[in-house]
Symmetry: C3
């Protein structure tokens, strides 16, 4: 596994004692380092070896909406490194800010190593909340209130979903051999029909915000009215230009799928609806929210044809693009009458989708590792050498 | 403690990387091995020695109804072996199956060592759900999605309650000196009156399904209409025949108690009521459920005399049969007006009942140990030799 | 850090295998020992060293009302010592007693090292419940049901809040140099206005019950009708007499603040209201509870002037008394329209308040340490010598 170490030696990173909130906050080397460390920890774990680098320590998770998979990914990552997990459940109707956030963040952080936050419900709120928590612990550390500064990790916000998209990137690296070989590949990030409403924008935004950095031809497609946050699209366009790739936006799933190497069809709510929703939530306007949901489902239903079916898959490169999804998917005839993907397509890719999800705990572990271990290369080397078994 | 090792050497077991769902899925040697390892871990713990065999690792518990005692038994067992615990609370009205179960089971299992499940509410559902989870992780492992296969442990289902009945068996072993000396003993597994409704059938079924394997005379008694699942009774009858014991079924608590060495009086809901209840739950028929409960309580009240009182205890062997219960018991005049057991009887046996419950964490630990440690004998020997203190 | 050891050598303590329920249950030496061990563990942690003394082991927390801060303090303390945490959430309307408490306490304690309990909602209930749990595990241990006896730690009850007040005392020790230098200092423990209702009496009672032991002049002030439990006031008065300090009780915030070295202005509900409330809760009298709350808020509103504002702070010793609070505070214009403290006062002391809170995890860790480690001095010495890093 020394290739991991060799790769890691090449990267200049400044991840120690920092947060991971958006992939585009971080340099290419830092992205590479996360993937390399994640890969190394995965290989250690698969070989039955210990990844433990903490004697004791607390990992805190804050879930502002329900989550099973992310909860377990975070708990798995923390546990593998030797941390205990304490969860703060904050499923709330109101949105705390200011003094309350500063104080609570400090109060729970006295002995904490890392804080993982999921807050994807309110446009304009999730990432902002994470930054408030990060600012609070940064200030607490600077003022001597906290003797150590817990790292804040974005487990999904209104803007990005970095632990998901980096797991997706690990999947691409594994499927195509290397990040370099992604250059010139076409990836279709498209909207897909779902009978449910209000799915976050973080995955499509995260995908275009990450994949445009690797020289890929990123094809974003959605029905009119289902736009993403304009700033993120702008950034992705700029990144594509810099990396020698491209970003094209269309209103045709067929156009996006045509000769694609990779397809990522997934439902999301329109940006403007999410904005209206945040306003209604803040006012506590229940009838308004119900009416908005009704309207949105009616609108959704106009786009039933945005399903990833066999016909569309056949039009991809060689008819066998890599199908990706963050799961759970709305599978037509299985989890709903009509949904994001045909059952036969999903079935064919199930193992690959599960593998894709399986990278996430290691991505989270790598983020913790790189933000808390001062000499990550040296430490990884010693883990490899020690080869301490996980089950004695 | 070397006698534990000597005992263990005699058993042929195939428990590595398997599940523990029903006691009758396992050979006599495997049952013996669980008891022996549980006893050894208990003795280590009592001596203040470490039972730790995991450097890191995740134990997942899935509770599909509320539970305090089982929750702590599982957490205690996992912790003693060095595992962290993540709980998945799934108190739900609907019953998930198929794709959802397969996917969720896989998603939470990437780094998991063991999954403990309690699902005893719906007849025909609990054990089936456990088997779905087990099949999902088995398939995930076979297809390379999971690099390790978490063991599934039944923490109580609609059919059996193996961690309880094996704790009960440890109690019998301790009270009567050995499993061999149980041969020819009479155990009365009887229904008892309770003012509550809908208690699971898993304990009486588990008791007759386990105790008939040791040459005991098992006397099952309940009012007419309170039958158990016929298949389980049939299996118990066959096992009794094979082991040289007997199974008799009657509608008289007095007949069952007569000259019994052991009595286990406990309320349960009739099989046919539980079947009807599952149907109503699946249809979401709330008025139907309320009416069923009303009828069932009226029926229960016709059997107030099924109380374990002093008079009935006096008729047992020497007037001092061992009184058993899985707790909590409905104690007449204490936890309810009229219940399963007279307060004076319960009081006299309280310490023994608590000891009985105290075996459960070690039974669970033994199941985990035997399913995850490749060379259990060797490993136990090393734990004994190391004698590492739990508090340094 | 050897000064910690030297200090500790001077104390005669009998904390091994005991509970921590009220500070006044414990000798001065024991109070000193808790502070010294807490200080030593804090310094170890700040230096990045391991405080781990448990190989494995379970810390149980029972929260009978919602809590985030105390929950994380307890989890942090347990984790730092090497314990896993299992939480028992018991937010309930009814109050369990007797057989149920005895049995549940025993059932969860088979492998437990410590039980932390927060139960501050019902006057006459919280501390009583803790004593029931302690009696249950004591009896269980004496009768051989539990091979080890978990220590019970009061995380806030209706009478005292020892982990808070000992954290407060550590703050005073740090600010004034030593416990000895507190002699002759004036501390004002005063009521303050809050728009909320039903805050527990445990902090003011705990403060007068602890600070009167150090030769301080304790000035308790509250509006008429907001009396504390008479027994506690009586005990504080007696302690003040013994320690050469004083306890004065008045109905004037100004009088209490005059020339004070330390001020602790904090809202609480009147004793007689809390008594009435417990009665109504036990009867389940919802309209009665609503009416009591209404009356109490009306009564509160008559005392809006009891705010810790700049004018009152100016009258303290040199205009710069140490402002203390257990947090969260009701800050005027921030968390409420009119509250316990002016925003400018709170702002000036924020860092100090956060530091004050930051001692609590170490106080809890010290209580666990002293109740579970047989030779605490020797053990601390070895922790210092080992200097094992928390992050490898």
């Amino acid at each position: 596994m020394n290739h991991f170490i060799n790769e890691l030696m090449d990267y200049r990173t400044a991840l120690f004692n920092t947060d991971f909130l958006l992939t585009w906050d971080h340099s290419d080397d830092e992205i590479h380092a996360v993937l390399t460390v994640a890969g190394c920890l995965k290989e250690l774990h698969c070989q039955g070896k210990s990844c433990r680098v903490f004697d004791t320590g607390l990992a805190i998770s804050i879930f502002r909406d329900n989550s099973t998979r992310t909860r377990f990914s975070f708990a798995s990552a923390a546990n593998a490194l030797g941390l205990g997990v304490s969860e703060l459940d904050e499923v709330k109707s109101h949105i705390a800010h200011g003094e309350t956030v500063r104080e609570t963040a400090t109060m729970i952080s006295f002995l904490a190593e890392v804080i993982g936050i999921r807050d994807d419900m309110y446009l304009g709120e999730g990432n902002r909340y994470m930054r408030e928590v990060a600012a609070a612990v940064e200030e607490g550390h600077a003022r001597g209130v906290l003797h150590q500064r817990p790292s804040v990790i974005n487990l999904q916000c209104d803007i990005d979903h970095p632990t998901q998209t980096l797991a997706d990137l690990m999947q691409l690296k594994a499927q195509f051999g290397s990040l370099e070989s992604l250059r010139g590949r076409k990836i279709a990030m498209t909207w897909a029909y779902s009978p449910s409403y209000g799915k976050p924008l973080s995955v499509p935004q995260g995908i275009i915000g990450l994949m445009t950095r690797f020289g890929m031809d990123v094809s974003l497609a959605h029905p009119e009215g289902y736009e993403l946050i304009p700033d993120v699209v702008e950034r992705a366009r700029e990144q594509a230009r810099m990396s020698g790739g491209s970003l094209t936006v269309s209103n045709s799933m067929e156009e996006a799928f045509a000769a694609a190497d990779i397809v990522y069809p997934k439902s999301w709510a329109p940006f403007h609806v999410m904005q209206k929703r945040t306003g209604l939530l803040q006012k506590g306007d229940r009838p308004g929210l119900a009416e908005l949901e009704r309207q949105c489902l009616v609108e959704n239903a106009r786009h039933l044809s945005w399903e990833c079916d066999e016909k569309k898959m056949a039009a991809t490169k060689g008819g066998k693009a890599l199908y990706m999804h963050c799961l759970p998917a709305d599978i037509s005839g299985v989890s709903c009458k009509e949904g994001e993907v045909a059952a036969s397509v999903f079935d064919r890719y199930r193992d690959l989708l599960y593998r894709e999800a399986g990278y996430k705990p290691y991505v989270i572990a790598a983020m913790i590792f790189l933000s808390k271990v001062k000499q990550p290369m040296d430490r990884l080397m010693r883990l490899l050498e020690a080869g301490r078994p996980r089950v004695f």
